[in-house]
Amino acid sequence: MHEILKKTVWSDQVPRITEFVLDAPEIARAHQAGQFVIIINGETGERIPLTIAAKDAEKGTISILFQEVGASTMMLGQMNEGDKLMHVAGPLGKPTHVEKFGTVVCIGGGVGIAPVHPIAQAMKAAGNRVISILGARNKDLLIYEDYMRAASHEVRITTDDGSYHKKGFVTDELKGMIEVEKIPIDLVVVIGPPIMMKFVCKVTEPHKIQTFASLNTIMVDGTGMCGACRVTVGGQTKFVCVDGPEFDGHQVDYDEMMARQRQYLPEEKLAVDICKKKMCHSA
């Protein structure tokens, strides 16, 4: 059992974005940037993979962020400080390959900003110049800005509707940095919706800029047992849980990945409808 020590609601818009700081000393000690946990909320819960957004090894805590897009995450969002999560397994997945590359651009889109945070921290600690680009649909949905400023030398922000900083997408900003500002970039790390990662890779590929993409596919066990998370990378089938979650972004078959992400949409919708009814009853 892992107690929720702190709950932060980052955005109250639907779907809500919530952060839990969990008591998990052993996971906090073992965690390296880029790794994730699987959590289960209650006896009937499903296994939900969530990337660790921050940790405090001394206090023995880890942070996880989630958007309430499905029934399981909606119910998770009902939990409060002092409540306990039944199961947390991790850290899972291979850590990010961190070394001194030179200039590293860390791109986070939407709730993907949270998992990019420990990577930016680690890249900065390894002596890289870290420029972060954060993208959100609007100002209210932008999370972790202060944390990312602390973890980066420079932060640039885009919003789809222009409600905060530059109007546009992270790809526009990246393109400007490469083609207009002529900033030499040694590595790009991107985490966000698959479509965003696909287009970031389309921007960096012609300039031969190495790009790591961290994939968030459907998983069941998260330890290499089931293959639900498989993706095609460079023509080969890989398991995101044990071979990843980070891959050479230019080699990933995003279209296949996006199709596979849609497998359970009808079931997810059914579960959300039932969940909403239940919540109305209890409210």
């Binding site: 073992a30 009937t44 499903e46 089931c226 579960a271």
Partner: protein, 483 residues
Amino acid sequence: MSDEIKDEKPKKPKVPRQPMPEQDAHKRARNFEEVTTGYTEEQALLEASRCIQCKKPLCTTGCPVGIDIKSFIGLISEKNYLGALGKIKESSLLPAVCGRVCPQEMQCENVCIVGKKNEPVAIGRLERFVADYQGKHGGGDLPKCAPSTGKKVAVVGAGPSGLTAAFDLTVLGHKVTVFEALHKAGGVLVYGIPEFRLPKAIVEREVKVLEAMGVEIKLNYVIGKIKTIDQLMQEDGYDAVYVCNGAGLPWFMGVPGENLNGVFSANEFLTRSNLMKAFDFPNYETPIKKFKNVAVVGGGNVAMDAVRTALRLGAENAYIVYRRSKDELPARAEEIEHAGHEGVKFQLLTAPVRVIGNDEGWVSGMECLQMELGEPDDSGRRRPVAKKGSEFVMELDAVIVSIGTSSNPLLFQTTPGLGQTKKGYIEVESEESCRTTKKGVFAGGDIVTGAATVILAMGAGRNAAKNIDKYLKDGEWWSKENA
């Protein structure tokens, strides 16, 4: 052997082998309740009376853990059911499980002397009877444990091998902690074997016995990630480690179209249904797809479990696609028979060539080749050879791949000094000693042998416990050079 038959005079000849009561095939093909319901006391007594109590019984030699079968059946005849269970438990921790899932027809019952002229004694069904008797009526004491030795042993993996080793080591007085990656203990017994073949309550009951004996089970612990084996030994003070994390990494066929939506590993399909109880979605949160036309590729027990699960989820056509003939199907005879009765269709001598998808990226069919059996191969089975021009397409909306599993690379990545075989399993001095190339670290079960059976994994757990106990006393190790 013929002498022995002459020596023995059957006490009550001509009592037929008692059939196993089971749910009606049509009814059970649509529910997840246990298929077989178990012997009544009358049946168990009749079946026990068929045992001729041989002077030199062969049945025990056919049992991978050497259960004293003759004695436990004798105790059943005396209506001393708890005594019979105690006799089995001298050799096997999990009779309620093994009575249900062991391939008895290839082991104890295969060599049963009664079986030379008649049908063999139904040893597995009797084993299950006494275990269930205790489950229903209670009774039986916790096994006595030796005084504490002060030694600590870590067991990596709470499957049949790990649970057996934990039991034996605890009885010997060692303090055991079992580290399990998933959120439930039992390994393949909880994620792989379906409820209709092995009710999960039985596994839970056995795990509770271990906990009552003082075994600590730490769930959600992926050794190699949260902690390395070196950390367990150097920082946490474990004197020995038994690695029995199984062979869980699923193989895929390597044919085009395998990443289409609607293609699953049997592991995924079964884990969703069994461990996560997705068959009861949305009461349980993990979803599972209900398909109309499902093909399971493979012919082992896992394939039978997957195809029968698909049927229970509502499939109209559920096929086993296997490249050899019925005689070569590796699954237990009972599973094949049950599957057939339930309406599973056997598409034999058939090999998939590619999975075909529709515009939305979902499976719409599978192109296959017809095979014929040629000369025997290395395994002694006749090799399937493709018939030229025999391509045909099966119309499907799901393909479940059940062609085997291999070892998970995770532990090797973080355990320096742990030798690996060419096939990717853990290198040991011998399956008997379970000693790896790393001092103090033992290994057994599927991670050493490759995917095998529950009872063989339990046998390895027993061997490991014996050798760990010896090592904790004398500290002796082996070296590859001297071996």
